[in-house]
């Protein structure tokens, strides 16, 4: 990709161009798991230091979360940036292979610069309605990377929120039941007799 004019968008595109298409795209689907103890332990933590993303990247994720999860006024459990970003960082981003995390970081910059051409502002500076419309528009974009980014970033913050058992109570979902119901292990099966 050749870009003549230095600008934040062009710089972001240059970063993205350096990444292979595979790295750039793979992060979108690479966010399913929450590593052991991630949700539960991070939920207890007080403003844990973020290890996988810097402050600027955290600010983009925070703004995405504000737009994707506007739970105020609903029955859903309120969230705090510290806990949500802590879960995201420790349990999702922290387990990504380095090349996938690098793809995410490039994509995150690209996404944040996305609204500049049309709205003259980065995503983090958009008002709620414009940011919401922007995410929906990219989810239905012709450009494959736009769809992948909108879908992938939303998925990351959604998982970070719903992996926390504190988010389940308003849904009346009761979570793990075997221990609560005193279910016993059947143990190993006996050897086959024939």
């Amino acid at each position: 990709m050749h870009l003549d004019t230095p600008s934040p968008l062009n710089q972001a595109l240059t970063v993205v161009a350096r990444l292979s298409r595979r790295d750039f795209m793979a992060f979108a689907g690479a966010a399913v798991g929450v590593a052991a103890g991630g949700a539960a332990s991070v939920a207890q933590a007080q403003a844990p230091a973020l290890k996988s993303i810097n402050a600027a990247e955290a600010a983009i994720f925070r703004r995405v979360a504000e737009v994707v999860l506007p739970v105020g006024g609903s029955a859903l459990t309120p969230w705090t940036p510290e806990v949500l970003l802590g879960t995201l960082d420790a349990a999702l981003l922290g387990t990504m292979p380095p090349h996938v995390l690098a793809g995410l970081k490039g994509g995150l910059q690209y996404f944040n610069e996305g609204p500049v051409a049309q709205h003259g502002k980065r995503f983090t500076a958009l008002d709620d309605a414009t940011a919401t419309a922007f995410l929906d528009a990219w989810g239905n974009a012709k450009e494959v990377p736009h769809r992948a980014l909108a879908s992938g970033l939303k998925k990351l913050v959604q998982l970070s929120y719903w992996a926390n058992p504190a988010s389940w109570a308003p849904l009346e979902y009761d979570g793990p039941i075997s221990q609560r119901n005193g279910l016993k292990s059947l143990g190993n099966a006996p050897l086959p007799t024939r």
Binding site: P70, L159, N188
Partner: protein, 519 residues
Amino acid sequence: MKKHAIKVEKQGLKVTQAADVRDSQLHLKADAVVVGSGAGGAIAAYELAKAGKKVVVLEAGPYITSDKFPEMLAVAMGTLYQDHGGQTNSAGDISVLQGACVGGSTVVNAALCFRTPDYYLKLWAKEFGLTNLTPAVMTPIFEKVERNLHIKTVGPQETSPGALLIGQGMDKLGYPQGKARRNIKDCAMTGFCFSGCTTDRKQSMLVTYLPWAVAHGAVIHSDTRVTEVLSKAGKAVGVKGEIIDPATGRKKADIQVDAPIVVMAAGPIQTPLLLLKSDLANSSGQVGKNFACHPSMSVTAEFPHEVRDFHGATHSLYMDQNTLPDKGGYILLNAIQEPVEASFQAEPGTGKPYVAYMSGYKNTIRLISLIHDQNVGQVSWKDGQKDISYFVDDQDFEAMKKGLIATAKILFASGAKRLYLPTTHISSIDRVEDVDTVIGGLKNEPARYKYTSFHPQGTCRMGRDPKKTVVNPHGETHDVKNLYVVDASLLPTSIGYNPSETVYALAHYVCDQMIKTRA
């Protein structure tokens, strides 16, 4: 001579973990080394150990005892699944899920079992020369694994609120209700199959073939990633690997196992990667090619009343009237869905519509459409990283659309008031009259849909022609003697049904051949 009594431990498994290793170099000798401890590897370990072989099993994943299974999918993904649940195709739009722990995918699957349809056995005989895998040969093997793994049809109580609703919809539309057959004993109906069965009701390899293999003397090493298959003069002679501390990700020791039999059972992604890295068994150029994965999509249905599809049998109901390729090429499966899964399967719209959608979680259920797909993908190394290059074929996407249309009509007939499609753009359907138009208008585009695959397969396919296949009809690679494959890599074509019982049966068949050859 007095026979030594074979005793199976009542609980747990003797496994050498990274934490148990004290030396920086391990050099073991065995009659057979098995790479992977899932469906194929565990069966091979048991059959070979029972035949008197000294067996070493090397598993890349950790050993997690069932009492540690979390009953939380998000946490289970992090501990029990390949790449912490993050494994995808190169486009990032298909989540390719595999177990990565002692017991492999059998620990985290939904225990659904189907015999390989005769249609495919005949197809494989005709197109791949597998005239040895006749229904007459395979039937007794299916019967054996069904006995060993307690594979039974669900009882009337083994269902879920969602399955009951879907069954009503099927009845109204005249679709046959398929009752699931599962390798589960006395199901506790928690609905947590995908997180591992914490009370050992699921008859996974963790509580069946692996403890049986250990009872016969097999040794299992977890946290041990094989890095090279060794060969000499056209024969397999062992493997090299690394023992990785799962807590730090750092190498703890190097390991080499010398063995005149090497059994590959690392799964249809890792097995070809390892063969490619070892530069073995690939004179056909087919290693890693012909990847298929049974892409699936979940449609979420919202009802005007509470359903509370929180617990029950994870899968209990299916519809396979249209599963064979000439009938449509799709199968429908019900499945319980916990909030984490529900949170990203639908696209109701960013912000308030999403909050409203999730607030109605207790009123929702899902029905899965899974397709028989063409073997159009490839697993390979790119820039030192694994690459799963796979895009849903246009013809297969048409099968998916047929499956989604049937899914949607069944869900409306079940009483749903709104359906959400698994797309990246906002998509819902409020009236059955709109189903054909909305789903019929979907186009096959990358990163447009939220696919999940639980069934990667086909990357070291079996067949008679060494120019077109990797493994011969008896499971040994064409190129390297004593190098066998017993995982889902073997499947010459995708089979449209959950392939676990096919893998169990093929592993038994290959082991029978191996043992007969050496008798």
